[in-house]
Symmetry: C2
Amino acid sequence: MSFCIRCGNATALAVPDGDNLPRHICGTCGHIHYDNPRMIVGCIATWEDRILLCRRAIEPRLGYWTLPAGFMENGETTAEAARRETLEEAGAQVDIDAAFALVSIAHINQVHLFYRGRMPSPACAAGEESLEVGLFRADEIPWEALSFRSVRLCLEQFLADRQRGDFSFHERDLIPDWHGDHPPTNARNSTP
Amino acid sequence: MSFCIRCGNATALAVPDGDNLPRHICGTCGHIHYDNPRMIVGCIATWEDRILLCRRAIEPRLGYWTLPAGFMENGETTAEAARRETLEEAGAQVDIDAAFALVSIAHINQVHLFYRGRMPSPACAAGEESLEVGLFRADEIPWEALSFRSVRLCLEQFLADRQRGDFSFHERDLIPDWHGDHPPTNARNSTP
């Protein structure tokens, strides 16, 4: 970030009055530019006992399997973002049940939010950002070829909750040095 | 948004290749600018049976009572944002219990997330953005002088859950024409 979005002149990092963090401030018009975390919203969409997954046609993690998910857009609710991503990436309709998992990934300034939802039919088809899509039983999930840690956590928790017969809302924080075999440092559930 | 943050030249709205929404694209260097919803994170912090509220020293809604909450910053988790806002606005420490309420406000591109937490002591003090802070019993909450609809919803739900003796995770969408006396159009709870 080097130039002001409002007037096109140079910005510099400084702490605005009444603030406590440096922001990019325009040296000419004084406009303050805030940069905040972005939400990635996705969905665990199921048809009967099967889970909808997409194989990524885009970087990062091209060729790996993921839950339909993407950047939330202005003008939509979180649930609408989950429905839209499921339709765009997997060509599937989904009836949203509830928010299921919230994953903070502070080192990349992202918050991932996954919903649970049910597909009214098994119809699905690869969207532009997917190479293929499919419905997977628990023992068919390609664990070794999943795209992101948040997706893995979400699937593991979903299967655990389903086995238990009770879905709750889960929260996790991911840190940079966490590797697949160790639990994240911080876990909170809405039902302890 | 009129100028490129990277090179300072003029931008124009256009749909990038492979996208389906217009973005501000630089006519000179081609940089694509994405604008996404922002998260406001806050906390219902309690000491015994009392709830921590702050009276706003800043616009919007200067002089009205609110839960400590504010824009989530880069490099922090959602729970860390809740703790930080509680400390900054109300001078209070809080031990976070769990995420409590998620409120989508699509028409202003915001997502509000409130945590439940408990204060290890009743110590609190107005921060720079607060005129005063206080601990309120349920029958002392200044309902007519609350700052935002999401705060009101959150407090109502918190008191209802507490009375019921069981806290769950709640989700609401707020729409522009919703007035205090009518329920929002869309409500989902993690426990139906």
